[in-house]
């Protein structure tokens, strides 16, 4: 965290509709050294009984992260680059407030070690100017990390959106979700 080479001109883009459920991202995520070989990404069947639809979820790195605000131990912090870091292992008291408060359902509680863990955008890689592991292996483009202009060329009929409505709550994030062209937000309710 001392000498970061984070590429501020590159962003994370997620398109859940492109997820094919191959779980390559899960395998890659477990390679991230900050996670201790535990995968932080979520790949789910949305409703397996009626649809083969899968979805992929990374931490969206909220501008005002609910996980950090509800943490009673001040264990979760957001840095100057907007990365919301995983819980500080010395402080986390494994109460699971963050797990239950995150509107995207991202943090994981590891019961055995009594710690909350979450995606920190592969800080070991991104702080060295590299792309997150999941984005390097995704074969379908559901996860992509790079320049906004390049994304616009690749997906001319989509718009990156980073505003979400969860009922009455507006959440803005560092990570973008790819929406139909012209969209300004995604309403989840």
């Amino acid at each position: 965290m001392q000498n970061t080479q984070i590429r501020t001109d590159e962003e994370f883009f997620v398109d859940p509709q492109r997820c094919i459920g191959c779980r390559a991202c899960e395998m890659a995520c477990a390679e991230c050294e900050t996670n201790g070989q535990t995968s932080m990404i979520h790949v789910d069947y949305v409703d397996r009984a009626v649809s083969p639809q899968t979805s992929v979820q990374v931490c969206m790195h909220c501008e005002d992260p609910a996980c950090a605000r509800v943490c009673p131990a001040d264990a979760i912090t957001k840095d100057e680059f907007g990365i919301v870091h995983t819980a500080n292992t010395a402080r986390c008291i494994s109460c699971a407030n963050c797990v239950l408060a995150c509107p995207f359902g991202v943090p994981k509680k590891i019961e055995t070690t009594q710690i909350m863990m979450k995606c920190n955008m592969c800080y070991d890689r991104t702080s060295a100017g590299k792309r997150p592991m999941c984005a390097t292996v995704c074969p379908s483009g559901a996860l992509w990390f790079g320049k906004r202009e390049k994304m616009a060329q690749m997906r001319p009929h989509s718009t990156p959106v980073n505003t979400f409505f969860f009922g009455a709550q507006t959440v803005r994030t560092k990570v973008n979700i790819m929406m139909p062209a012209g969209s300004t937000a995604l309403r989840v309710d």
Partner: protein, 348 residues
Amino acid sequence: MFTTLNLRALGVAAIATLALTGAILVGSRNLQNFDGALIAYLFGAVFAWFGLVYRYDVWLQRPPTRLYWKRGWQFFFSGRMFGHGWALVRRGFEDMAAQRFIRKRGGLRWAGHMLIAWGCVIAFAVTFPLTFGWIHFTLAQGTIDTYEAHVFGFRLFSFPLNSFIAANIFHVLNWSSVMIIVGLGLMMRRRLTDAGQIAIQTFEGDILPLILLAAIAVTGLGLTWDYEFMQGRAHQFMAITHAIVVILFLLWMPFGKFFHIFQRPAQLGVAIYRREGAMGPQAVCPHTQEAFASQLHIDDLKATTRELGYNFTLEDGSSHLQLSPQGKRAALAKAHLAARRRSGSLFG
């Protein structure tokens, strides 16, 4: 600076400091048993106490912390005191004394942390009472080879000078220093070789505490080394260096990484909270149709998030927080699919 001063915490810390000062006066029998050579350590310790209470009170004022603090005590005295008390004793041993959860994070990491933690606990148990004048030693009357230990001015026990017990009493801080140095070696190895840690650690947050503890332990051992093997020739240097690093440690304790020593017992309050939650109704996710948390936790979280300025109330009056993490991810995926469908194309 004064705009961020927390007046309530200031008041609580001032009262706690006065209480400690009173306890030092009473415990040392009006400073009769106080060792004047430790005056700098005394001021450092009193300031550390002030800072710790101040920060602790500020911490307790945060809505989620306040809620757990309130709920923890409320449940403890709710009529299930025996059951909760036993759970606390068990968890206190497992989590605080044996630190089993750290063992599951790694064997060497656990060994290093145990050595540092217990080395510090032993050192604290010896040095603070000595500094406050609560413990002192005298030569037994009419003898030249028997020491008496006094606690709060009361004679506790006596022991011969050339005995096993005397050697251990006089060298207990050396043993704790050795424990801390070995533990620091293990932890520093992790800090220098674990690529994940290297990426996220900071000098002031993770390396400096290890250096500070090492400086205290090494200069502490140096004091013994000096009088045992150097005829006291370096005493002044050793004593002053040791005092400087210890006082730095004391002044920094409320603000840096060492605050987790005082924060960590909150884990026991969480254990009571979870125990109580497990006995009551469980929250069932409308998406997965499975219980995923206690309803108590979800209801408290709704109140806490509201207090923090969030409003996750949905159009139908329910709350987004009533969904399990998996349910929330599914809700997002469904909303995204619906938006794509409305646009007439699933991809773009």
